[in-house]
């Protein structure tokens, strides 16, 4: 449950994390985290993934069985139509491993939303779903691809052996289909996150370097690069603790709090649906099973987007989204 900022007993520093509870932190700064207009529907279609990345806040991996069923896909698509969302952001796990993915995308298209697919690239190009890249092109799906580092060893220490070369191959295929090419209208964005317990580089500087190096080394083009902090949940939290980095990482996140990032947080304009159809303020709250408004609401019960002014459930992992340039 979201912690109440009114409870002064919650003001002390958490000895384990070294930081004051996030709710208390906001209270002391006179800030409130509430919704603006909700324009994005994020859909988590399951936790099954072909990778088991060390930073994964959801503990997604090959052993997970949580998967959005066909019936829920229908309910989510209906909600997308009712809600009139500008953007639908499909995530996982590896969304490509959900057999209903194409159906979901097809059903979202008539809603007029911009559809984004968060891909780890290797599931998109593993030889088992050859139709999917062409399908995404035909449906004008925006590909948002994990590409943490230009360095092979950094990438593979995070995502697993062989992922770097496979990602390069997938990016080149997507470029050949028109993705990232000027005038094609086919957008591919990259997501870079740190390969350990440190913060990400400046987005603008990293984008310049990635653009230059990807073009120079492999002739790869892309539209935008986003840099995000790793969120101290799931597998990443377990690693932080066992490696002895948890406390200093939390302190570093808290020390980097950025009021400008706070204003533009994605949770202000996004609602996230889990594979079983329940609503959360973001994918990280979903990982923590911290439901929107503190109660489990099923997507089928919602008449439209949550209204402006609705409070957003917070916990200490929110420090990750407010550090530096934040999660927008």
């Amino acid at each position: 449950m979201a912690r109440s900022p009114e409870n002064p007993a919650e003001g002390s520093v958490d000895v384990a994390s070294g930081v004051v509870p996030f709710s208390r932190f906001l209270y002391e700064k006179g800030l409130q985290l509430t919704r603006k207009q909700t324009t994005t529907l994020q859909v988590n279609v399951g936790l099954l993934c072909n990778q088991a990345c060390r930073h994964c806040h959801l503990d997604a991996g090959p052993g997970r069985r949580e998967m959005m069923k066909g019936e829920t896909v229908e309910e989510v698509a209906a909600y997308a139509r009712r809600g009139g969302f500008e953007t639908v952001d499909i995530t996982g796990g590896a969304p490509e491993l959900n057999p209903h993915l194409a159906t979901l995308i097809e059903k979202l298209s008539p809603a007029g939303s911009r559809v984004m697919l968060r891909s780890n690239l290797t599931a998109l190009n593993d030889g088992k779903r050859d139709f999917l890249m062409e399908f995404c092109r035909a449906e004008r799906v925006v590909i948002v691809a994990s590409f943490p580092s230009l360095d092979l060893s950094q990438t593979e220490s995070q995502r697993g052996e062989g992922t770097f070369g496979e990602s390069i191959t997938a990016l080149r295929r997507l470029n050949a289909l028109g993705y990232g090419q000027e005038g094609s209208g086919l957008e591919i964005d990259l997501v870079s996150n740190p390969t350990g317990a440190f913060l990400p580089p400046s987005q603008a500087e990293a984008e310049k370097r990635f653009r230059r190096e990807l073009e120079r080394r492999w002739g790869i083009a892309f539209n935008h690069l986003y840099t995000f902090s790793n969120v101290p949940l799931g597998r990443f939290r377990a690693w932080l603790k066992c490696s002895g980095n948890f406390r200093t990482y939390m302190e570093r996140l808290a020390a980097q709090f950025n009021p400008c990032a706070f204003e533009g947080l994605m949770c202000r304009s996004l609602v996230s649906v889990s594979w079983d159809g329940y609503l959360y303020d973001c994918d990280f709250n979903l990982a923590e099973r911290l439901p929107m408004d503190g109660v489990k609401i099923h997507v089928s019960e919602m008449t439209g987007p949550p209204g402006p002014g609705t409070p957003i459930a917070v916990s200490d992992h929110c420090y990750a989204c407010t550090a530096g340039t934040g999660f927008t």
Partner: protein
């Protein structure tokens, strides 16, 4: 004092200006200006700083600029190469002085 180098002193660096506020202010203004992006990127400057930190053997600087290099997007290969640059210059500086040794020894010897 139990140890000369305490990692907890690193975030307290700015306290060095407490009894010399004007000098401290001037130093930190200069320091921040040096590390801002200019003809060199912040990432490149952090790699230079990491190399220099090894040359001057400052554990605080090594701690700070290892973290800074990672946070600017560098990898351990690049950082290790930077340390080798510092090592090459340090080693080369010793070796070039060896010519003095050889000249002096030559003057003193039959």
């Amino acid at each position: 004092m139990e140890i000369y180098y305490d990692p907890h002193d690193l975030p307290r660096f700015e306290e060095i200006g407490n009894d010399a506020p004007l000098l401290g202010k001037k130093f930190f203004e200069y320091y921040n200006a040096v590390f801002a992006e200019g003809a060199l990127t912040e990432r490149e400057k952090s790699l230079i700083a990491l190399a220099v930190a090894h040359a001057v053997q400052c554990p605080y600087c090594i701690d700070a600029y290892t973290q800074a290099c990672l946070e600017k997007g560098s990898n351990v290969n690049e950082m290790t190469e930077a340390v080798h640059v510092a090592t090459a210059i340090r080693g080369g500086a010793s070796l070039i002085h060896g010519l003095q040794m050889r000249k002096i020894a030559g003057r003193l010897s039959f």
